[in-house]
């Protein structure tokens, strides 16, 4: 049975309108600094509101870090940034026990919190760290807590990790294991700016004026919005469509396309279906609707599933992009069939 928390306090229509208004404010603030990338901004916000984490992939210099930093300022959240390097250790992220001296001269161990203890964590170039360090971060992402010296420290909510990574073919990178990739709600490709956007970027960043970003959402409001998105219902036909799309990524399933059968080794996990539905709900509310539609599902498929499909050797050798496979699936699986 659906909760009626939000409904009891405010009518759905007003809640959705406020949601749209808040989101518009965030977008506006981010837009003062970030040029273009509206899809990326919406994707990141979707992950934040869904309680998931986002992985941004793009070549250096596209403004990934700036985007996250600006978002942190607009949301009035505690922000920390970790630059992943090959010599980065897990304790550099999580924190460590240090010997502290009290006023009376006594010494004791004291936990020194790492940068993970923030609301918004930017894991920059996550694939430059070793797998051991990557695992430390990803464990915190999944458990929403950190355990050190047999003591568990809960992370403050909202806890949102935004990782960036360079394309895998670049040197000095450690690809994230599939199981860890699965923990990101979205994987977003940051495109290269267009000509007009580049003009704007240069105008803003090479002049003397510096954009001032004001916080428009606080922690409490973000948690309210999170609760609100969970209230959005999904019709059975829409949910069935999402499931069929996920099943179609499995080469052994009935609806698998030719590309899936040929190039895919493992399809998306149930987390993929969860990610699609959550994202679809948020897209619906962003659009001022009260229920997720098939179009919302289709819009959420790419960022939700592209990092959850594991290609086989032939797919890798042929240079097949998961996006192409998903495009084919979307072309063949129609809603309401």
């Amino acid at each position: 049975m659906a909760s009626k928390v939000e409904a009891g306090a405010t009518a759905p229509r007003e809640s959705v309108e406020r949601f749209q208004k808040d989101l518009a404010a965030v977008r506006s603030e981010v837009g003062r600094v970030i040029v273009g990338h509206q899809g990326i901004v919406d994707g990141v916000l979707t992950c934040l509101l869904a309680g998931g984490h986002a992985l941004l992939e793009g070549v250096p210099g596209l403004g990934k870090t700036m985007l996250v930093r600006t978002l942190g300022r607009a949301l009035d959240l505690q922000f920390s940034r970790v630059q992943f390097t090959p010599d980065l250790m897990p304790s550099d992220i999580l924190g460590t026990q240090v010997i502290a001296e009290d006023e009376r001269g006594g010494k004791r161990f004291e936990f020194q919190r790492g940068p993970i203890f923030a609301n918004l964590v930017l894991a920059d170039e996550i694939n430059r760290a070793t797998p051991k360090t990557q695992s430390a971060l990803l464990e915190a992402m999944q458990e929403q807590s950190v355990t050190i010296a047999r003591k568990t420290y809960s992370l403050d909510q909202p806890f949102f990790v935004l990782a960036t990574q360079n394309p895998l073919e670049m040197e000095g990178t450690y690809p994230l294991p599939e199981a860890q990739l699965d923990r990101f709600l979205f994987k977003l490709h940051v495109p290269f700016p267009k000509r007009e956007e580049l003009h704007s970027i240069l105008d803003r960043t090479t002049g003397a004026a510096e954009a001032d970003v004001k916080p428009v959402l606080d922690r409490a409001r973000i948690l309210e919005l999170r609760a609100l998105t969970r209230e959005v219902p999904v019709a059975r036909s829409v949910q069935d469509y999402a499931i069929r799309l996920v099943l179609a990524t499995h080469p052994d399933e009935e609806g698998a396309t030719a590309s899936v059968k040929r190039y895919v080794r493992f399809g998306a996990s149930p987390r993929g279906a969860q990610a699609i539905l959550l994202a679809a709900k948020i897209r619906a509310v962003m659009d001022g609707r009260f229920s997720a539609s098939a179009d919302d599902v289709r819009g959420a498929v790419m960022p939700s599933l592209r990092h959850r499909m594991i290609l086989n050797f032939e797919g890798e050798a042929e240079g097949v992009k998961p996006d192409a496979v998903l495009e084919e699936i979307l072309g063949s699986i129609k809603p309401g069939a």
Binding site: M1, A2, S3, K4, E6, A7, A11, P12, R13, V16, E231, V232, P233, A235, R236, S237, V238, A284, D287, R289, F290, S291, S293, A294, D295, D296, P335, G336
Partner: protein
């Protein structure tokens, strides 16, 4: 049914419209198939590959399928969700209507505020939905194919198709003959049709019905002059062969088998008297009726024990009746031994003429007896089933009257089958006689030469550019030829041969009352064409015509038409009546003044009376009828 609530009532309208769309589409799709089948059926019917009683109805019957398909789809329910999807897609409502319809299927208590908000939102958007715009009427793409097939159907139905391609005449066939369509007067055709109708009423088996059908088709073709003479005779021969192939003696064997059974039954036995009489007469139909009555008597009762016993004995005798073959077998054996003995003697020494004559007589006798033995064996087989049923009935009579009644009923069915066979044999026989009459009639017309054919010959003679054979006229006055008819012949052929017909018909000079002479390589069937007796020729001459041009028996005419011009002359021999003699004779005894048509009718009426009175043996009645049909006055 779709949600009938006012806020989403648009779904009901859309669902209805989707149903009609589907019906139209189904009708168009099925129409393609139905029209294709119709075209095939019409084509087969018109080409006579398919023979049915009502070809048009059969050919058009598939056209009912589209209606059926449309109705099925019109009444098949449509999911409101499907209709909602169409509306959502057209108006870009992001599945609002479909989702709202799904939420409305839940009980109100289970709906969350967001669900209710979604329903309200959909209802709000539903007000601006235009069903007609979202579901416009569109012509199914199959309609183009339907139009093409319909046009094809009309074409196939209207374009004349030759009934049967006549055999193409060979290059060497005489062209005159090839154009010569067989003709029958309407009167003759009506007579044949009437006779065939009577035969058809008797036909009980498929073979007999096929024969009648084929005969009717032949008459139709003759009536429409679709057959030339050769083809007509060929069809006649084929039909006669087909009828002859059927077992002509089967009906006779049935009758004999029945008689042999009936002879064994006691004619004074009241319970089986009618059956015995019918069997003795060889009438299977009457016997079947009598046996059915006996069956009813047994089933309905009451029947005394004495009657029961008498009936049982009578049936037992009937069941045990067998043709006497023992004596015949001995005779066959003896005749065979005698023939073998004489043949052995012949091998040892030459037989004298008396002995050879005796040997031939013995051989014929042996063959006759063997044939008779086979006939009786077949007769026994014909009655075998019937006697088995009768024997069973005789046994059951002692135990169970109902079972005996059932046995007799089966026996009656067997007799009915035999009756059908008899009837069909009779109808076959009748049909064969009609065919023979038709053949004779056509042959007669051919011998007389049709008016049209004479006209063609005259035209040909003129166009051949031959010299006017003045002497041809003289043939009328020529020597007293044996027939004198050929005077007219001479008049016909006065043009001589000129460039002549390519083959087959010689143009005979009128001299000496000559006979139409076939050329050496002309087909025998062409002789005598153009031999229509002339008016004057009806008067017989006093002697045979003589002296024709010997050149007429020269080389064959070149089939390619390179002919040799030959001049012929009639010669006066002083024999035969002159024109003045003919006129004088007529003045003395008078010409026939009463039309033949009037003479014919009373004669034919009288002949019919005699036939009905049974004064003519059955086997010869058909000859009498045939004779009168042959001398029937011709149509003008």
């Amino acid at each position: 049914m779709p949600d009938a609530a006012p806020d989403l009532a648009v779904l009901a309208v859309a669902a209805r419209r989707v149903r009609w769309h589907r019906a139209l589409r189904a009708a168009a799709s099925v129409s393609v198939l139905a029209l294709a089948v119709s075209v095939a059926l019409v084509l087969l019917t018109r080409l006579h590959v398919l023979r049915v009683q009502h070809p048009l109805a059969l050919a058009l019957s598939p056209l009912a399928l589209p209606l059926l398909g449309a109705l099925l789809n019109a009444f098949r329910p449509v999911r409101p969700l499907d209709a909602a999807r169409r509306l959502d897609a057209h108006h870009r409502l992001h599945d609002r209507l479909g989702i709202a319809w799904q939420f409305r299927q839940r009980p109100p208590a289970e709906r969350t505020p967001f669900m209710q908000a979604a329903i309200d939102d959909a209802a709000e958007h539903a007000r601006s939905v235009d069903v007609r715009a979202a579901l416009p009427w569109q012509l199914p793409p199959e309609l183009r194919m339907v139009a093409v097939l319909a046009a094809l159907l009309l074409l196939v139905a209207r374009v004349p198709v030759p009934s049967r391609a006549p055999a193409r005449p060979s290059r060497l066939s005489p062209p005159v003959v090839a154009r010569d369509a067989a003709e029958l007067s309407d009167d003759d055709l009506a007579a044949f049709r009437e006779a065939v109708r009577q035969v058809e009423a008797q036909a009980r088996t498929d073979g007999a019905r096929r024969g009648v059908e084929e005969f009717n088709r032949l008459l139709d073709d003759l009536a429409h002059r679709r057959l030339d003479r050769d083809e007509a005779f060929r069809r006649l021969a084929a039909l006669q062969e087909s009828l002859a192939a059927q077992d002509a003696a089967a009906g006779r064997r049935v009758s004999e088998a029945l008689r042999s059974i009936g002879d064994e039954m006691n004619p004074r036995d009241a319970a089986t008297r009618r059956l015995a009489e019918a069997l003795r007469q060889g009438d299977a139909g009457a016997a079947a009726q009598a046996m059915r009555e006996m069956s009813q008597t047994l089933r309905q009762g009451p029947i005394t024990a004495q009657q029961r016993q008498q009936m049982s004995q009578a049936l037992q005798r009937a069941a045990e009746a067998r043709p006497d073959t023992e004596e015949l077998r001995r005779q066959v054996e003896q005749a065979r031994r005698e023939v073998e003995e004489m043949l052995r003697r012949q091998r040892e020494r030459a037989l004298n003429p008396q002995e050879e004559s005796l040997l031939r007589r013995r051989q014929r006798e042996s063959e006759r007896l063997t044939g008779e033995q086979q006939r009786r064996e077949e007769q026994r087989r014909e009655a075998e089933h019937l006697q088995r049923e009768i024997a069973q009935a005789a046994q059951d009579l002692a135990r169970d009257l109902q079972a005996a009644g059932a046995d007799l009923e089966r026996g009656a069915e067997e007799l009915s089958r035999m009756h059908d066979e008899q009837q069909s044999q009779r109808s076959n026989e009748e049909l064969r006689q009609q065919l023979e009459q038709l053949r004779e009639l056509m042959r007669q017309q051919r011998g007389q030469g049709g008016q049209r054919q004479r006209m063609r010959l005259q035209q040909f003679s003129r166009s051949a550019g031959g010299q006017q054979g003045q002497q041809g006229q003289q043939g009328q006055q020529a020597q007293p030829g044996q027939q004198g008819q050929q005077g007219q012949q001479g008049a016909l052929q006065q043009g001589g041969q000129g460039n002549g017909p390519p083959q087959g018909v010689a143009l005979v000079p009128g001299g000496s009352g000559g006979v139409p002479l076939p050329l050496p390589d002309s087909s025998p069937g062409r002789q005598g064409q153009g031999g229509q007796p002339g008016q004057q020729g009806q008067e017989p001459g006093s002697g045979a015509g003589v002296q024709h041009d010997e050149n007429l028996r020269g080389a064959a005419i070149d089939p390619l038409g390179r002919t040799q011009a030959v001049q012929v002359q009639g010669q006066q021999s002083g024999n035969g009546p002159s024109r003045s003699q003919v006129i004088r004779t007529a003045a003395g005894s008078g010409f026939a003044s009463r039309p033949y048509r009037e003479v014919y009718s009373p004669y034919w009426d009288r002949a019919r009376e005699v036939l009905h009175q049974g004064e003519v043996p059955p086997g010869f009645r058909s000859y009498v009828r045939r004779y009168f049909q042959l001398i029937r006055p011709r149509e003008k």
